[in-house]
């Protein structure tokens, strides 16, 4: 806030943008009255000389998987239609405590499962660059809201790329911090050991500011670590690596491959080291990811049974099992059901060792390999997605869709921070990003490297 404008004016501006772009379907609910009231209160406090919160007047949208006390939260699912949260997520509380204004909740793939936002029970979100195209997912509404200027920052969630992939498709910055950086308390779970709240914004500084406000230890989430305070000293040159087979992968769009290779040359030209590393496990990461995440999801989503809250099949003649079956068959969409069934299968007696145990072993190998990589390099460079945004309805084969997660799920499997930076556009004007990853708990370093890459990309090419 530069003091030239008021919070109320800012909220009005964004409300206008939201109503002008309502056909993009980015929002499931907009809190017009409440946002204006909060803004007026903040203006009053500021005028009275109160010290300002770090996010004073920042207009934020939150993905419909993050709880906000006395507000609806549905995970874009019929099973939680009209469910109101009785408590706030730690991240929500921290945003509000630092005087951000939450302007609404954003559409997404049901239970954050998907990468096109076509899996929402409340209709697909459209990409503002080309409304026939998907915005990516699962945090599609959150990406489009920032892309189309409907809010300053969005909180999304990223279990296997759900923040970075839509950021890539929409031409904005999307960051997933280290696992354990931001409390998951109040984040509706998809896969507990992968889920992280992520931040979508137009620039790296906004991401950094919001991260600083919401990250850090929380008594309600024992998987959160202390906030990293260590920022490595700036250097003149850095050591980057990339996975050779990732840039040569058959699924990768040639334009993306060429642009990234060209950028690598530019980095080298600036005195940085960029080296290929062998990464034999590349083709195992998507299967490993889907075995483990669906296993956790099948259990995490058991609570939506129609007994305590949420959707319930109304047939009074049902016995208990029929109540469960009908409630869950009707409450969940097809992608969610696919993943619950897959996860139930991989955990079942007789298959557990072949799938779950083996996948855990691969995850362990990936962690070991990652630790070795970061002994030698500051960061890993990868594409974010193999292709730019595709048309709504274009992709139907679930396996093909799963395989497109090849570059993003790695960071979730090993818990490292990763960011998608909007560096490129193809000849159709569709954006695509460069993905950068650093070692665990080193997000501040990752953010300063991100700024370096953006500056390099846009400084007089």
């Amino acid at each position: 806030m530069n003091g030239q404008t008021t919070c109320v004016e800012a909220v009005r501006h964004y409300l206008d943008k939201i109503s002008a772009s309502s056909h993009l379907n980015a929002w499931l609910e907009v809190y017009e009255v409440e946002a204006l009231e909060t803004a007026a209160l903040l203006d009053k406090q500021r005028h009275s000389g109160s010290p300002l919160g770090r996010l004073h007047g920042v207009i934020v949208g939150i993905k419909d998987v993050i709880c906000h006390k006395d507000h609806k939260v549905s995970a874009a699912s019929r099973v939680l239609e009209n469910f109101t949260s009785v408590y706030s997520a730690t991240a929500t509380d921290r945003l509000l405590a630092d005087e951000a204004i939450i302007i609404g909740r954003q559409n997404c793939d049901e239970f954050a499962m998907g990468s096109s936002n076509e899996n929402s029970a409340y209709g697909p979100v459209r990409n503002a660059i080309d409304e026939e195209r998907v915005p990516g997912g699962s945090s599609g509404g959150s990406a489009v809201a920032v892309q189309a200027g409907m809010c300053m920052v969005s909180l999304g969630s990223d279990t296997g790329g759900s923040v970075r992939q839509p950021a890539d498709f929409c031409g904005i910055v999307g960051m997933k911090p280290s696992y354990g950086s931001i409390s998951r308390y109040g984040l509706i779970a998809y896969a507990s050991s992968f889920d992280q709240i992520g931040i979508l914004a137009k620039n790296v500084d906004d991401v950094k500011l919001v991260l600083d406000v919401i990250a850090g230890a929380d008594e309600f989430d024992s998987t959160v670590k202390q906030k990293p305070s260590h920022i490595p000293a700036l250097k003149k040159s850095y050591r980057f690596c990339y996975f050779q087979n990732a840039l040569e992968h058959s699924s990768l769009d040639p334009t993306i491959s060429e642009e990234i290779k060209g950028f690598i040359k530019k980095l080298t030209g600036e005195g940085h080291t960029v080296e290929p590393v062998a990464f034999d496990l590349l083709d195992y990461i998507v299967p490993t990811y889907y075995v483990l995440t669906t296993a956790e999801a099948s259990s995490n989503l058991s609570r939506y049974d129609g007994v305590k809250y949420g959707y319930r099949n109304s047939n009074k003649e049902n016995n208990l099992n029929e109540l469960y079956q009908q409630t869950r068959s009707e409450g969940f969409g097809p992608e969610v059901k696919r993943r619950i069934l897959l996860g139930t299968f991989v955990l079942s007696a007789g298959y557990f060792d072949a799938y779950f145990t083996k996948a855990q072993k691969v995850r362990r190998l990936l962690v070991d390999k990652t630790l070795k990589i970061f002994e030698e390099y500051d960061a890993i460079i990868l594409p974010t997605v193999p292709t730019p945004a595709y048309k709504i309805g274009e992709k139907k084969d679930p396996v093909e869709i799963f395989l497109a997660d090849i570059y993003t799920v790695y960071a979730n499997l090993v818990g490292i921070p990763a960011i998608s930076l909007p560096l490129f556009k193809n000849d159709k004007g569709l954006p695509f990003g460069l993905q950068l990853m650093s070692s665990q708990n080193n997000e501040l370093h990752l953010l300063s490297l991100s700024k370096l890459l953006i500056n390099l990309r846009f400084s007089g090419k």
């Binding site: 998987v65 993050i66 709880c67 939260v73 995970a75 939680l80 469910f83 949260s85 009785v86 408590y87 997520a89 998951r184 308390y185 109040g186 984040l187 509706i188 779970a189 896969a191 507990s192 050991s193 008594e219 309600f220 989430d221 024992s222 998987t223 296993a295 956790e296 099948s298 259990s299 989503l301 058991s302 609570r303 049974d305 007994v307 305590k308 809250y309 208990l320 469960y324 139930t344 955990l347 079942s348 007696a349 557990f352 779950f356």
Partner: protein, 480 residues
């Protein structure tokens, strides 16, 4: 059934004990029993979307205490697992439990039966959360769910198939209940369900080493029922085998109305629980210091005190009485710090004080008179200031209602102090002897038993104040 001699029963027990922690295993909700239904239910207990568990350290401590008390090996690296199944009283759709890594491994519990004393081998003790309660009989059309209990910490104490009679099982559960109460981790109340027992029972021909097909019996809500259910099951199984029938693996429930069991499900209907490590909780490592600290705080266990009391010279029976429960032992321990007359203390605690404790339905730690006061009472009797019957009938009642006063003060105020001064006693002796000249003659002729009559008469005329020892001594001198 005289065919019983052909067979041997093999019994393993699973005892669930609710831990007496302030809060639940993974949330801050109160874990106490008896509140209005559905009042201890935060969003975490209700499994609202987005909620996460957080481990209660006290529950971990209590589990370790029980493990140490049962001679278990304590696992250093611990993690929780999810046991997945659907039921309305299980809000998350999974129970958080320890599957592959119980916090306590192995160990044993000593039991005494009529025949012998032996150790029952434990398999494990693990931590888990309780489910809520389904109440089927409160309404005609609905099953009511109370989630106050959901998430309350439990330990499950699992034996090896190491018992061979209902009597052993009875003694084992009795011992477990005593132990959990003793170390203060569980109130041991089977009626309220804070201690629950499932029995795995099988039979085989004597001498065989492989186990027979087992049946699991649930709903055993008293120690007596544990015994009755196992007795019934053994007889039922022997009867089946004798008739050439095959025992099928099933879960049965005990019907306390007629002391029988009935099948509730067969093995084929068993759930696939799809256990996997609970991803919402990080594994926790127990340090040597943490375990040593718990060991140091563990109260002296009954078997240790029993050995000590025998060394003090108490009989086996008395020693056993003094470590019947923690409060009794603690009272005795404190009393013997003030008086070395151990036997007298036992006599008071098994006699007049036990009566008070029973009448008031309290335990020794709630008794109004302190162990020191008891020791003082013992001392004034020992010193001959009052005799035992006066002390218990006259002094004790006053002390109970006025615990601030000391026994000596009370005895003085009531004018009950025995007189041992020879002048007073001589007067009473002379008075009595003068009253009964014929008896004196008989005595002198050799009827020495009459001394008791004289002493009794002296007690009467002195209104109990004459020290009987002194009186006897004087009488003997005068009648010589």
């Amino acid at each position: 059934m005289d065919v019983n001699g052909k067979y041997e029963a093999v019994i393993g027990l699973e005892v669930h004990a609710q831990l007496q922690t302030q809060s639940k295993l993974f949330s801050g909700d109160s874990a106490s029993f008896g509140a209005e239904p559905n009042t201890h239910i935060s969003p975490i207990t209700l499994a609202h979307p987005g909620t996460l568990p957080k481990t209660n350290k006290k529950a971990v401590e209590y589990a370790i205490m029980m493990g140490l008390a049962c001679n278990c090996e304590i696992e250093r690296y611990n993690y929780f697992a999810r046991k997945n199944y659907f039921y309305p009283d299980l809000p998350k759709g999974y129970q958080v439990s320890q599957h592959t890594t119980p916090i306590c491994k192995g160990g044993y519990v000593s039991i005494k039966t009529k025949d012998a004393e032996r150790n029952v081998q434990l398999n494990r003790i693990h931590l888990e959360e309780d489910a809520g309660k389904s109440i089927h009989d409160a309404d005609d059309n609905y099953t009511c769910i109370d989630l106050n209990r959901a998430g309350v910490p439990l330990i499950e104490i699992v034996t090896e198939p190491d018992m061979h009679s209902a009597e052993e099982a009875f003694q084992y559960v009795t011992e477990i209940r005593k132990l959990v109460r003793w170390i203060g981790v569980c109130d041991g109340n089977m009626e309220e369900g804070s201690l629950r027992c499932d029995a795995n029972v099988s039979i085989r021909l004597k001498g065989e080493t492989t186990l027979g097909t087992k049946v699991e019996v649930k709903n055993l809500n008293s120690i007596r029922n544990v015994k009755k259910a196992i007795e019934y099951e053994i007889d039922r199984m022997i009867g089946m085998v004798e008739k050439g029938e095959t025992i099928i693996q099933q879960t049965r429930s005990f019907d306390a109305d007629n002391d029988t069991t009935f099948a509730i499900r067969d093995k084929e209907e068993a759930n696939d629980y799809r256990y996997f490590p609970e991803p919402d909780l990080t594994p926790f490592l127990l340090t040597e210091e943490f375990i040593a600290g718990i060991q140091a705080r563990l109260p002296a266990l009954p078997q240790v005190l029993f050995a000590k009391y025998k060394l003090l010279g108490l009989s086996e029976y008395d020693a056993h009485q003094m470590c019947d429960d923690k409060a009794t032992a603690a009272y005795f321990e404190q009393a013997i710090a003030y008086s070395k007359n151990y036997k007298a203390i036992v006599n008071w605690m098994t006699g007049p004080l036990r009566q008070v404790v029973n009448e008031q339905n309290i335990s020794f730690n709630e008794l109004s008179i302190t162990p020191k006061t008891l020791a003082d009472l013992v001392t004034i009797v020992e010193e001959g200031k009052v005799n035992f019957s006066v002390a218990s009938l006259k002094v004790l009642p006053v002390l109970l209602s006025n615990p601030v006063k000391g026994p000596l003060q009370v005895a003085e105020e009531l004018n009950l102090i025995q007189v041992s001064g020879s002048a007073d006693i001589e007067n009473w002796v002379n008075e009595v002897l003068a009253k009964m000249p014929d008896k004196v003659v008989e005595y002198k002729k050799g009827k020495k038993g009459l001394i008791g009559l004289f002493v009794g008469e002296i007690k009467k005329v002195s209104k109990g104040k004459a020290d009987p020892k002194k009186a006897t001594q004087l009488l003997e001198e005068k009648l010589r």
